[in-house]
């Protein structure tokens, strides 16, 4: 029985993007032999230690665990360590009551909940949460939802927001300093957060009982951060993306440095070694190696920063700057219907979300109406900066190539290609939308060294890896069909 659930659980992890290998699955079963299965926390720790090997997957693991082992939890009357566990009795016994409770019941329930929070009575709180969900979540069987709606309904009915103020008043605040106030508040906020989680978990348990584990887990699955669509990311996701960009860039930089080293290793400098050996009587004690000749490209980054493209531009810029040690130089340019160099605004420690706001007001990126004009912007780039491009320059243009039906000016890109090492185009729109409506993607992309769909961090990372370390030889030749990004035109 446990093994069946475990198999389903592991499948769910895989579907949620957590790569669990065969060996790890076996390790988990082996480790469970040494685990007290009656102890839910221990059981969870064992599975986590054997099945998850990456911090980024912990959240997905947590969700799947709650769903798959929903009923695997100690009963509330087990003592909870802090003695006072039976202080607050549930207002009524276990019951299949559904729908909404009356006002009197609500007051009573709230009062009990308030007391439980005040005295940090976890067991009591759990019992009350079950009752609250019975009475106020209004769960309708069979609906394919993840439970957020029920959670908010319950929270609102309980007036959880008001609880914090009540708790603060209840703790004697006489003569408390501002600092103490803050600490007390943080403490209660933590308890209330715990209450929220308890309610959420309880609702999930009901949903699982109603619709089964697979169905609930599927509704709760979230895309991994690397797969979040950059153009349409929710605000909360943006903040999280912000946090992974630098580590991601660091990892990539380490990988690249390593590959570079491999490329140049093993080249013994025979003459210098022999010359050195004179001091040891001709014995070559101290082999000398040739100094490395790093081939680091110089980057010219041109970003459309008009409304819908701004977020994508921001992440591309941020990522490239985080990677700047991998390039000999990064210069950046922003455009809407005019183009301006923005290199002076940016650097390694820049606060990117705010920098872009500044740029759009301070740099000369708008000419007439602030609607993207690729033809004009590219022409400006060519006129003002084209002379500075050399065989070591890699030009990267980012944008959806939606030109508002203006003049395409398709001769610029071939000229750029002519004088530089390579020209790439990154388009954050799905490839299927290219060339529809006012998109003139092919008119440019056809001439580029490569044109790629880059909608998420994973694709961005794959692209950067490839250009930072081009195959040995003069001109970068992107590998077709690899590693993921879309269409590629051979020149």
């Amino acid at each position: 029985m446990l093994l069946d659930v475990l198999t389903g659980f592991i499948e769910e992890l895989r579907s949620a993007g957590v790569p669990v290998s065969m060996v790890e699955a076996i390790d988990a079963t082996e480790a469970l032999r040494y685990t007290d299965l009656g102890d839910r926390a221990a059981f969870r720790s064992t599975l986590e230690a054997t099945l998850v090997k990456n911090v980024r997957h912990l959240e997905a693991f947590g969700t799947a665990f709650d769903v798959y082992f929903a009923h695997h939890r100690p009963e509330p009357n087990a003592t909870d360590g802090n003695g006072s566990s039976r202080k607050t009795e549930p207002v009524s016994g276990e019951g299949g009551r559904s729908g909404t409770g009356g006002e009197g019941d609500l007051d009573e329930l709230l009062e009990a909940l308030f007391q439980a929070l005040l005295s940090e009575d976890l067991a009591g709180m759990r019992a009350l949460v079950r009752q609250a969900v019975d009475d106020y979540a209004g769960i309708e069987p069979g609906r394919p939802v993840g439970g957020t709606y029920y959670l908010y309904r319950t929270l609102r009915r309980l007036g959880v927001d008001g609880l914090l103020e009540r708790l603060l008043e209840a703790e004697d605040g006489q003569g408390r300093s501002a600092l103490e106030d803050r600490l007390v508040r943080d403490e209660f906020e933590e308890r209330i957060e715990q209450l929220r989680e308890e309610i959420r978990d309880e609702i999930r348990r009901r949903l699982v009982a109603d619709r089964g584990r697979e169905a609930v887990a599927k509704t709760l699955r979230k895309p991994l951060l690397e797969d979040v669509d950059l153009m349409h990311a929710a605000r909360a996701d943006l903040a999280q993306l912000e946090q992974v960009i630098n580590p991601l860039a660091r990892k990539l930089a380490a990988r690249l440095a390593h590959k570079r080293r491999l490329r140049r290793s093993g080249r013994l400098d025979f003459r210098r070694t022999m010359r050195r050996s004179l001091s040891t009587g001709g014995v070559p004690i101290d082999p000398q190696f040739r100094a490395p000749h790093p081939i680091k490209p110089e980057i010219f980054l041109l970003c459309d920063i008009s409304g819908s493209m701004a977020t994508f531009a921001r992440f591309t810029l941020q990522f490239m700057y985080a990677m700047s040690s991998q390039f000999s130089k990064v210069r950046s340019f922003a455009f809407i219907d005019a183009l301006d160099e923005i290199t002076p605004y940016l650097g390694v420690g820049t606060d990117f979300p705010h920098a872009l706001d500044r740029i759009s007001t301070e740099a000369e990126v708008v000419w007439i109406d602030g609607h993207s004009d690729y033809g004009r912007s590219l022409d400006q780039f060519w006129t003002r900066f084209g002379g500075q491009l050399t065989r070591r320059s890699t030009v990267i243009i980012t944008g959806d190539a939606r030109n508002n039906y203006r003049d395409v000016n398709s001769t610029i890109v071939p000229q750029l290609v002519e004088v530089s090492r390579a020209v790439y185009w990154l388009n954050p729109e799905p490839e299927a939308y290219w060339d529809t409506g006012d998109s003139v993607m092919s008119a440019y992309g056809r001439h580029c060294t490569g044109a790629y769909e880059v909608r998420n961090l994973r694709q961005l990372e794959a692209f950067v890896e490839q250009i930072a370390l081009p195959p040995i030889g003069r001109v970068a030749r992107p590998v077709p069909h690899e590693p993921g990004p879309g269409r590629f035109w051979k020149r």
């Binding site: 685990t35 221990a42 230690a49 600490l183 990892k251 380490a254």
Partner: protein, 284 residues
């Protein structure tokens, strides 16, 4: 060596060694010992990753062998190296003698420099092996470590294979600056250590800071929790809250007031912008 019957015993033993583990840490350590698997520990700086290995060495009364990783660490620093200067001197001293005899001599254990990894498996007594900050080494070195950890033997072409005489308890730490290889991760149990709860941090302070009162430890732990909740460049680690508590004691503070925080915030935080931020948030 002590063999634990259940994770609770691990926790208690660690506590006696002044390491405050939570149930999860105890569970993973317990499993590692039962299954004979290495533990890969990840987490922010200063949350007790390295310290766990040290405490386990104390608990088992084993020697701790530490391999501190860095970029460029290779076989000769991790495993073994021939002492070629010594070899050379010997060659020069023995000019004219029989080469094959000489060769046998200079490739014997006398001329071998043992490095931590070889040492960890070649000792009589089992040890605790800590491979610290493994994310700093190159991928091939990682592969080399992996090989030793899975075979528990090291082959030295000139000498033959050194078989482990004892199996070390292995802990690896990573600050997650790069993705480790799948092969390595598959072999290990994974343990993520985050910031402790207020209660555990309080216990840590009580165990580690001489002269701290319950009250002060609690206050420090609570303030640090609040500070960590702000969006900072560098959140304070456990070692920083320990330093802070020590500073407060040195200054004779028994009850932390706003002014004390203002005066000593630089102990807790590294960046000026963070200090300003916290001062503003805490209204001090």
């Amino acid at each position: 060596m002590i063999s634990f019957a259940e994770p609770g015993e691990v926790k208690t033993a660690l506590e006696e060694a002044k390491y405050l583990a939570d149930d999860r840490i105890a569970q993973v350590v317990f499993l590692a010992e039962r299954l004979g698997k290495p533990v890969l520990i990840e987490g922010p700086a200063g949350v007790g990753k390295t310290e766990l290995a040290k405490a386990l060495a104390v608990v088992h009364q084993r020697r701790l062998i530490r391999l501190q990783c860095y970029e460029g660490l290779d076989e000769s620093k991790a495993l073994y190296e021939w002492n070629y200067k010594k070899q050379l001197l010997r060659i020069q001293a023995d000019q004219g003698s029989d080469w094959s005899q000489l060769e046998e001599d200079i490739f014997s254990e006398d001329y071998l420099l043992t490095r931590p990894l070889l040492e960890a498996i070649a000792t009589e007594e089992p040890v605790v092996l800590l491979i610290d900050e493994i994310d700093r080494v190159e991928v091939e070195t990682e592969a080399l470590l992996l090989e030793v950890l899975s075979e528990f033997q090291v082959s030295i072409p000139e000498l033959g294979t050194v078989q482990a005489t004892s199996q070390p308890l292995v802990l690896l730490t990573s600050n997650n600056t790069r993705e480790l290889s799948e092969a390595l991760k598959r072999r290990c149990l994974f343990l993520h250590i985050g910031y402790p709860t207020v209660d555990r941090e309080k216990q840590i302070l009580l165990a580690r800071v001489e002269g701290v009162t319950e009250h002060l430890a609690e206050q420090v732990a609570r303030i640090v929790r609040s500070v960590r909740s702000f969006d900072l460049k560098k959140a304070p680690s456990v070692s920083e809250s320990i330093d802070w508590a020590r500073t407060l004691i040195t200054l004779g503070v028994a009850e932390v007031e706003a002014a004390d925080v203002t005066d000593t915030l630089h102990v807790l935080l590294k960046y000026q912008t963070d200090i300003e931020r916290v001062a503003k948030e805490l209204e001090i």
